[in-house]
């Protein structure tokens, strides 16, 4: 009887390890951003694009919808979403705040001149640290804000479908 116990333990250990590694293989090792909603907006300080004055999270008033859009002139998907932002700008219930991410000011101005300016205010993020305060990790990225809370996070460019979703949310 004594001899039979050891193989059983070995098999059990092998099975446990096999199970752990098998489960581990199924886990994705690509970062999936947390899209949890109802998160408070972070405190930050950023320069305004046009006059270099500093502004903080107080720019977001209560009982109003805001869309914070992180963009850059060097970002190709930002060009794709620009027409949708222009359409959204026509909505009276929402204000669009742009966060110009690690960009050359001259190029950013050309970009806006070429594609129109859908932003009510543009903030500057010269070293990318303001975007980190928002928990963003690239461009384009957008945050729908209401009552100082992030209602929706959009990773990647805004498309027709997302535009409709935003329009429904702000009604």
């Amino acid at each position: 009887m004594k001899i039979k116990i050891s193989p059983l333990i070995y098999t059990l250990i092998f099975l446990i390890i096999f199970f752990i590694f098998y489960k581990g293989l199924q886990n994705s090792n690509i970062y999936t951003p947390n899209l949890k909603i109802e998160e408070n907006i972070p405190s930050f300080k950023a320069k305004i694009f046009n006059n270099d004055k500093f502004i903080s999270e107080k720019i977001f008033q209560k009982d109003k919808f805001y869309l914070l859009n992180i963009w850059a002139s060097w970002c190709v998907p930002c060009r794709e979403e620009h027409s949708f932002l222009t359409k959204l700008n026509k909505e009276e219930k929402i204000k669009i705040i742009g966060l110009n991410y690690k960009d050359d000011k001259k190029n950013a101005k050309i970009f806006l001149k070429e594609l129109s300016n859908p932003y009510d205010v543009i903030l500057l993020d010269e070293d990318g640290t303001v975007a980190i305060e928002w928990g963003a990790y690239g461009v384009p990225e957008s945050f729908l804000i209401y009552n100082n809370k992030i209602v929706k996070k959009i990773i990647g460019p805004i498309n027709e479908e997302l535009l409709t979703e935003i329009k429904i949310l702000i009604q």
């Binding site: 333990i9 970062y31 640290t129 980190i132 928990g135 690239g138």
Partner: protein, 121 residues
């Protein structure tokens, strides 16, 4: 007196260089423990992506603000979740990861001990 002044100048020069070097060492150590979220298998320290470069600047800023290493990890964890840290904490998702080596060591030790006693008998 002249020698004394000279000594003070040298002392401050060496001291400021040393403290700068220590800050830079700590910054490197922290960024080595952070995962670059948009790269495959690279730390923030190793990566040259926009995201990693911004994080390097942010870590430096936070160190200058007087934040401790642990506080910086906590801050980044609140922004990006635990995935950004290379050193996983002990929780319900990671307890097996932490306990398995100890368990293996104990089981292995018990088997060796058992064989040893059997051989002796």
């Amino acid at each position: 007196m002249r020698f004394f002044k000279f000594f003070i100048v040298i002392f401050f020069l060496v001291y400021s260089n040393l403290s700068n070097a220590q800050d830079s060492d700590l910054k490197n150590e922290i960024t080595k423990n952070l995962r670059c979220l948009i790269c495959q298998g690279q730390s923030v320290y190793d990566s040259d992506s926009e995201f990693a470069n911004s994080l390097k600047i942010l870590v430096e800023k936070k160190l200058n603000e007087g934040l401790k290493e642990k506080q910086i990890y906590e801050y980044l964890k609140s922004k990006y979740g635990e995935w950004i840290l290379y050193d996983p904490e002990f929780n319900k998702n990671t307890y097996f990861l932490w306990l398995l080596p100890i368990l293996m060591f104990l089981i292995g030790g018990a088997i060796i001990l058992k064989l040893f006693i059997q051989k002796k008998n």
